[in-house]
Amino acid sequence: MTASALESIDLVRDPAKDRARALGRFKLADASFRVMTLGAALVVLLLLLGVAVSLFIGAWPAFHAFGFDFLLNDSWSPPKERFGAAAAIYGTVVTSVIAMVIGVPIGLGIAVFLTELCPPALRRPIGIAIELLAGIPSIIYGIWGVYYLKPFMQAYVEPALIATLGRIPGFGLLFKGPPLGYGVLTAGLVLAIMILPFVTAIARDVFETVPAVLKEAAYGVGATTFEVVGGIVIPYTQVGVIGGIMLALGRALGETMAVTFVIGNATHIMPSLLAQGTTISAMIANQFADADPGLFTSSLLALGFILFVITFIVLALARWMLSRLETKAGR
């Protein structure tokens, strides 16, 4: 009797036991899901490491042959087998700085206008225009730069700069030389236009996360729009804004085709912003196909490795800035 009763208990499904079994199944699915996502994450790390290591191995003959001088020498002469990265590094940094100096304030301005001041009827068309700007392939910017921006720079902007800023002693060195239209400044301007949508789109999205009650409180105590943006919106969203700016800087540093079209591709450093220059990615794009195996190819790979390192440094700086901001905000 007792035995059969026990049996019957076993037969009648125990809900607790059932749940445990069901959860056990989930446990397996859970674990395999964890392993799969971990695997995906590890693939990223492996890829990154693989790219860095293979670039370094390819670049090693150049680093070995030229040593630290590779970073300081601005001469790039394939027939003489004399290679230095300084001109390319200089061009990369200067064009990106010009792009950021022009692109970031304008991009943030657009975002502030869109979220704080824009009549609702205009908000969508301007927003869509910005997103379209982000979707244009870079080669189109390059062609546009050559056919429209370059003649404009040559005919109006550069002569004006030479006649005004170019006359200032010392500082004027940056604006000397014949106005050819091709140069570091034109490349920086094209880059500024290219990064504009990144800065704007991200800034707009994070500005919209600011709680209305904060802004209304500020307006309520008599703050102007400028004070609300400077005192409430930007401090509240600075982490996101800096993220957007860094994304834009990443694009500016690595941009290839648009820059190659308008920078003039001179492989040495000239002080004037109106003079021709080159960037790391432009150099690689121009010369890799025809590079002889050996020191030439290796030097181009070394350039690639340096760009990798520059990008890494920029990202590390961004992280450091963000963590400092977060601790400050916490205090």
Binding site: P78, P79, T260, N265, A289, D290, A291
Partner: protein, 337 residues
């Protein structure tokens, strides 16, 4: 229904296998790509055999043939005999082109300005910076040259055109030779770097005072103003098909191992000093003799029947004596079984 499907599948399979068996594979120089494509098209119509040519640049073509991923490589800058020997490669010139200095000076038309090699080198070195410079004026006593800054335009990408152009400047200017040298890309002391022949052509056309160098076909098709040149014999020559062929005919091919002749600055009263050949590389002992023979058949066709097609695209066919020498070299060197 079923039979139709089956038939379709068979046709696809057959045509696919035909294309696979027949395609000759090659890679390299971009300059001869249009004419190779044209020859391939007409060869396919006659024989049914296709050509798969990737125009990825001379340097990349050399890399590909050395890696044995293609049956032939194509390069604008020939390999020296020692390098050919080490790699077991045979090399020959396939077709020629001319390089012309193009200029943009208001009121000056094609052929109205004459320039010589040393002056051209000084301009590209940045030593001569204005069109009214005494050195240019001396060569053009009858032309009133304007007070206009010279804007040098050169290739930014590695290119066989640059190789031939800088080779010429190195031959005629000791200064250029010691400071810059010759290669598919060099360290230009001055000027704007533009991408491709079309990039240089556009830049020269759009920049007053510009001087650049492009393949003859680009100068002709874009109606650019070209300058005449003074050749090695001291004669003024205009860029014409006859002048390019004269340079090739006067070159000493017979005594050049691996046909290593760079056609710039060749002797002869009619020779255009900036003539350039483009070369083919194949293995003397090919890993796959059938494929190698197929490629040679294609090149024979191009030599025998391709001259008019070449001229139509502003290329210059090799002179007959040179073709005879190339064919003799094939028979002697390349294993054909």
């Amino acid at each position: 229904m079923f039979s139709r499907f089956f038939l379709g599948a068979t046709v696809i399979a057959v045509s696919a296998s035909c294309a696979y068996a027949g395609d000759i594979s090659g890679a390299g120089a971009t300059f001869p790509f249009p004419i190779y494509a044209k020859w391939a098209d007409s060869y396919k119509k006659e024989t049914g055999d296709g050509l798969n040519y990737q125009s990825i640049g001379s340097g990349a073509g050399i890399k590909q043939i050395k890696a044995k991923t293609v049956t032939f490589g194509a390069t604008d800058a020939p390999l020296k005999a020692a390098e050919l020997e080490a790699a077991g490669l045979e090399q020959w010139p396939m077709v020629m082109g001319g390089i012309v200095p193009v200029i943009n000076i208001d009121g000056v038309k094609s052929g109205e300005i004459v320039i010589d090699g040393p002056t051209l080198a000084q301009i590209f070195l940045g030593a001569i910076t204005n069109w009214n410079d005494a050195a240019i004026q001396k060569l053009n006593p009858k032309v009133k040259l304007p007070d206009l800054a010279i804007a040098v335009v050169h290739r930014a990408d590695g290119s066989g055109t640059t190789f031939n152009f800088t080779d010429y400047l190195s031959k005629v200017s000791p200064d250029w030779n010691s400071k810059i040298g010759e290669a598919t890309s060099v360290e230009w002391p001055v000027g704007i770097g533009a991408k491709g022949n079309d990039g240089v052509a556009n830049n020269v056309a759009g920049t007053p005072g510009a001087i650049g160098y492009v393949e003859y076909a680009y100068a002709k098709q874009n109606k650019l103003t070209y300058a005449d040149m003074i050749n090695q014999a001291g004669k003024v020559v205009a860029p014409t098909v006859e002048a390019f062929q004269a340079a090739a005919a006067n070159a000493d091919w017979a005594h050049a191992p691996g046909f290593y002749v760079i056609l710039s600055n060749q002797p002869g009263d009619q020779s255009w000093p900036l003539t350039a050949a483009t070369f083919i590389l194949m293995y003397k002992k090919p890993a796959n003799v059938t494929e190698s023979n197929e490629a040679l058949k294609f090149f024979t066709y191009a030599y025998d029947k391709g001259a008019d097609m070449a001229k139509a695209l502003d290329y210059i066919p090799m002179p007959d004596p040179v073709i005879a020498q190339v064919k003799a070299a094939w028979a002697k060197d390349i294993e054909q079984k």
